[in-house]
Symmetry: C2
Subunit: 259 residues, 2 copies
């Protein structure tokens, strides 16, 4: 049978595509992950839309127990696995798909909007983004800096950097733009390689793709104090701007769209 990885898009259940909804309705079992981002629709709202029970899948279920659950079931009947944004953006889901294929289960990805293209709402050109990096919560002595290196690499070819910010939805913990800037400034203070300077242009985004999205640009000191509201947030470290990007950013920035 088929395992459908269905993107739910950026905000709520109405971002599902007609194709994604139809596929979920055809499946005997429907899972929804709850750990790579957040949806503004509840499990019950998805159940109402799809017309059947929806099972919450946390990281542990997907990464440790998929063999006994999702994959075992997908050998018997069609199974849907709903994923925030686009299903192929996160390693955890690519890995599930790979394991399914190795077990001889047919897989089908139903794509949807991803933060990786929604960042164009900032007015910055998608073509000019370099590698993407994640900023994890520091935990004790675990203080990774690889995203600092990625920004530096991108700067060497005049590319912007999208930073995806860590989250632990189970604990209601979502990294904010302000926190991420604090972490970046901490690494800069230590390494002093000029990757983040007082003049570096940053763009903070919150709830991209929703009616109430917030986009705000400024220097580290300006944005460090900014309150962009509810999660999820992401942060862009800009390289040189084309004048079209400058104009686009000005129009998008600071504008909170009305519902």
């Amino acid at each position: 049978m088929t395992l459908y990885l269905i993107g739910t898009g950026l905000h709520d259940r109405d971002d599902l595509s007609l194709k994604g909804l139809a596929a979920a309705k055809r499946c005997k079992r429907v899972y929804i992950e709850n750990y790579t981002s957040r949806s503004f629709s509840s499990k019950e709202e998805f159940e109402g839309l799809i017309g059947k029970e929806v099972i919450l899948a946390d990281r542990d279920l997907v990464e440790q127990k998929a063999e006994e659950t999702i994959l075992a079931e997908a050998k018997e009947h069609n199974v849907a696995f709903l994923v925030f944004g686009d299903p192929s953006s996160a390693t955890t889901h690519s890995d599930l798909m790979l394991r399914a294929r190795k077990s001889g289960i047919q897989t089908r990805v139903i794509h949807n909007a991803s933060v990786m293209s929604a960042i164009a709402d900032t007015g910055l050109s998608l073509y000019k983004f370099g590698k993407t990096a994640s900023v994890p919560f520091p935990q004790g002595s675990f203080r990774p800096e690889s995203f600092y290196d990625t920004i530096q690499q991108n700067q060497s070819i005049r590319a912007h950097t999208l930073l995806l910010l860590d989250l632990e939805p189970k604990k209601g913990k979502y990294m904010t733009v302000a926190q991420a800037i604090g972490i970046l400034l901490g690494i800069e203070a230590k390494r002093k390689e000029g990757v983040i300077t007082p003049a570096t242009l940053l763009v903070g985004c919150a709830r991209l793709g929703s009616d109430g999205q917030t986009i705000q640009s400024g220097t580290p000191s300006e944005l460090k104090e900014a309150d962009l509201g509810e999660a999820p947030h992401c942060l862009i470290v800009c390289s040189d701007l084309h004048f079209m990007e400058e104009e686009g950013l000005k129009t998008a920035s600071g504008e909170e769209r009305k519902k």
Copy 2:
């Protein structure tokens, strides 16, 4: 009133989101662009789904005559403008949005899947893609090479490059992976900077996001002869692969998914 830019996603009308469809139904006028990619649903099929007339908008209408048509109408009532993939990926649409905002028209983007995240179906990590470039059809003495420079820049930071291939849907002209490789090899033969070598790993994709998508990887000489079938095509120039990417690419490559 509001100008809605609504992404139609990657393949056909059923890739529309529930939100996108509902917005289009609320609008008095509905346009669909026909020049940045192609949809596998006809205008009539979109009309059937939305329940009203849909007007084809070519590049000339959007870039030269939007003031008298789309923008003038959006001052009086809600207007929908359907765009292939994600509406914010192409400069022509960002520009329309900017002009609308300057005329005091409220805009609303309804995101959808884009080739820029669907390329993760290849098994390559989205995080490791650098800047994106377009490969235009050479026209007489107009033989741009900037995409060659972009590949070179990305290689300097070990990033993959997504190349979007030119198309002229009105003439039914779509650049194939084979043609793009021919153009790249021509530039390499002239500039000899080692950006494309006989060992460079390329990935050709066709109809990404559809049930019948084709993904094929190989060296330039292997892929130059490949027939990936119907457009649209895109081409990826790989940098070093992580072993997870190698495995993913092997699984995805050469596999034509069954309907």
